[in-house]
Symmetry: C2
Subunit: 328 residues, 2 copies
C-alpha cells in the first residue's frame, strides 16, 4: 500500500491512503489519525489500512478525492529518529581520491552512519529555506526505509522483518558548512537542515521484484532546473543492505517505531549514470578537469527527484522543490 | 512549576504536575495529555498548568496523589530532537592534554555540539541496559533545557525566550565504542545508547537566583555505588550559555517544540569538585598517575545524579539507575 499525510489536523498531519497510480486518496478515518500512530500499532493497523487501500484501488472507497501533492506534508512531518547511512562506497572512494586519501578497509564491512535531524521533515513540494547561498546548498537523493519497533542488538535477518515502509528523501546539505563542522569531530549539525520526504511511502510488496535483498533495484532519477542530472542505480554499488543498516543502528539501543533509516546519496562506480548530489558531480569534474564546474544551488533553482517502475509510473511521487531565502 | 510523566496512557506517558517539594502530584487531566502536547501549544497550556501547580502546592488539587518516582517515565519518553553541547571546556582541555593535543582556538567561540538520539529516554529509575561490559559503560551528568518552537537563525537573546523547562540527564556513553566511531568522522551513534532524564523538569522561575545568564549556578551531585563521586559546579567554566547553545542549534533550521538541548558533562578547572563522568575521572588520574585507576561501570553498579537548592531540597528529583545486561 501507499501512505501519505495531508497538511491538516495538526503537527503530524492527517494520515491518508493513496492509490497505486497516485491519482486518488482517502483519509484513514477511524483507523489511525497519523502515520506515527499507525506505526505505533503497526501489526493491528496495517491490515486495516491495506483493506482500505484495496477498496481505493477498486474505486470503491467512500470519500476518495483527487490527489494534489501541494497539499501533502511529509508522510512523517516529524519523526523521533533519522539515522542516515553512507552505503554507496563509490561516492566515498571518489571524494577521498579527489583529496588524495584512502578509504579505510573497515568502511567495507562497518557501515558509515550518522544521527540525523528528524524533528521536522518538509513536504514534497515545500521550498528549501536557507539563510545564505554562501552555505553551498546541495541536494542528496536517497532511499529511506521506516521501521516499526526494533529490539536492541537484532541481527540483519531479524532487522529485515522490521522494514515496513520505503520512500525517498532529499537530504539537503550545506556543503560550505561541512568541512569546519566535521573537523570538530562530532558529525553534522548546522550543515544538515531540514529534509523533504517523497509524497508517499510504500510497503515493500509494492516494489515487486525491484525490492530484493533489502535493496531497491531501480534508478534514482534527478533533475536540476528541469535538466537531467542523474539516474544512479540504487541496487548497484550499495555496500550494505537496509537490513544491515537497521541492524547497525540498533546495535546498542532499540529503535522506536517510525525510525527512518537512509541509504546515503546514491552513487555508482559508473559515472555515466550521473550523480544524486552536486558534491558528487563536482568531485567527478575535479578528478576529470582539475576543478569543479557545476555550482551549488542558488535561490530560485529547482530540483526534482523521482523513481519510476519498469512501466515508467512514479512509485513514490516526485519530490519537487525550489531554493528560497529565509525571510525573517 | 514542575512537570513529569507517568508510565501510563501510552508511549508518551501521562502528563502530571508535581508539587515544589516533589511529594505530591496531580494528572493534568483536561489540560494536556502529554508533555509533548503541552509544549506544542505552550503559550496556551502553560498558564493552565501553572494554575494547577498553585492549587497542588496549596493542598487544594483534587485527586492529588503521593509521588513514587518508580512510576515515572522520562518527562519526555520520546522526543523529536536532542542536541548535546560540550560547553565545559576544562573537560575538553584535559582530555586533549592527556593525549598531548591542543584545543583549537575556535572551540572557545564556536560551541561543540552533536545530534543525539532522542527517540527514547528511559525513566529516572529505569536500569541502563547494555549488551556487554566491554563497551566501557559511563555515566554523564548534564543539565538540559527544553524549548518551545524556535525559529531558524535566532540570536542568543531571542533564543533565551524559548527556554521553557530545565532538567537533568544521564547521557549514557559507551566509551569503548567511541574512538573507532569518532575516527569514522560522522560523530556518535552506537556509542550513545538511550539516556535517562530527571524525574521532573522545572520552569526557570523555580530556580530563583540559581538561574542567571541562562546558566544553572548549582553543583551537580553524583554518586557511584553510594559513594560520592562529584559535585562539579554547573555555573563555573560553562563556556556557552544555554541561550547560545540553542541559537547554535537553530542556525540553519527551526527547532521543533520539545527540543532538548544539553550542556555536556559538567566539569570544572578545579578537580577538587570531582567529576560528572568516569572518563573525566580517568583522565585526571592519567594526568596525575600516568594511568587511570577508576574502572568503567559493571553490571550491578548503581549511580545517582541530583541537584539540590540552597536549603538542600532536591529540585529535579534524583536519577537513580543500575547497570544491567540485555536479556534477549
Amino acid at each position: 500500500m501507499k501512505l501519505a499525510s495531508l497538511k491538516e489536523g495538526g503537527r503530524d498531519g492527517t494520515l491518508i491512503v493513496v492509490s497505486r497510480d497516485l491519482a486518488h486518496a482517502v483519509r484513514a478515518n477511524g483507523i489511525a489519525a497519523t502515520l506515527q500512530a499507525a506505526l505505533d500499532d503497526w501489526s493491528n493497523i496495517a491490515p486495516r489500512l491495506n483493506a482500505l487501500y484495496a477498496e481505493l484501488n477498486d474505486g470503491k472507497a467512500a470519500d476518495a478525492f483527487a490527489v494534489d501533492f501541494n497539499k501533502f506534508a511529509a508522510p512523517l512531518p516529524r519523526a523521533f529518529e533519522f539515522v542516515d547511512g553512507s552505503a554507496y562506497l563509490p561516492h566515498v572512494e571518489r571524494v577521498r581520491r579527489a583529496r588524495g586519501a584512502e578509504v579505510p578497509e573497515s568502511f567495507y564491512t562497518d557501515p558509515l552512519m550518522y544521527q540525523a535531524v528528524s524533528a521536522g521533515f518538509i513536504g514534497p513540494r515545500d521550498p528549501v529555506v536557507v539563510v545564505s547561498e554562501d552555505y553551498g546548498i546541495d541536494l542528496e537523493a536517497e532511499v529511506v526505509v521506516v521501521t516499526d519497533d526494533v529490539p536492541m542488538a537484532v541481527t540483519p535477518v531479524q532487522a529485515a522483518g522490521h522494514i515496513q515502509l520505503i520512500g525517498l528523501i532529499n537530504d539537503v546539505s550545506l556543503r560550505g558548512l561541512i568541512p569546519a563542522e566535521l573537523l570538530k569531530g562530532f558529525g553534522f549539525l548546522q550543515s544538515k537542515p531540514r529534509s523533504a520526504l517523497s509524497p508517499v511511502l510504500v510497503t515493500p510488496d509494492e516494489l515487486g521484484d525491484s525490492w530484493q535483498g533489502e535493496k531497491l533495484h531501480l534508478p534514482m532519477r534527478t533533475w536540476i532546473n528541469g535538466k537531467w542530472f542523474g539516474a544512479a542505480e540504487c541496487g548497484v554499488d550499495m555496500q550494505f543492505s537496509f537490513a544491515e543498516l537497521v541492524a547497525h543502528a540498533a546495535k546498542t539501543r532499540p529503535l522506536t517505531a517510525g525510525t527512518i533509516v537512509g541509504s546515503g546519496t546514491i552513487a555508482n562506480e559508473d559515472t555515466g549514470t550521473g550523480a544524486s548530489c552536486l558534491a558528487e558531480q563536482r568531485v567527478v569534474e575535479t578528478l576529470r578537469d582539475g576543478k569543479p564546474s557545476t555550482p551549488f544551488l542558488k535561490f530560485g533553482d529547482s530540483l526534482r527527484i523521482e523513481i519510476t517502475d519498469h512501466d515508467g509510473a512514479s512509485i513514490f511521487g516526485a519530490i519537487e522543490q525550489s531554493i528560497t531565502p529565509l525571510v525573517k
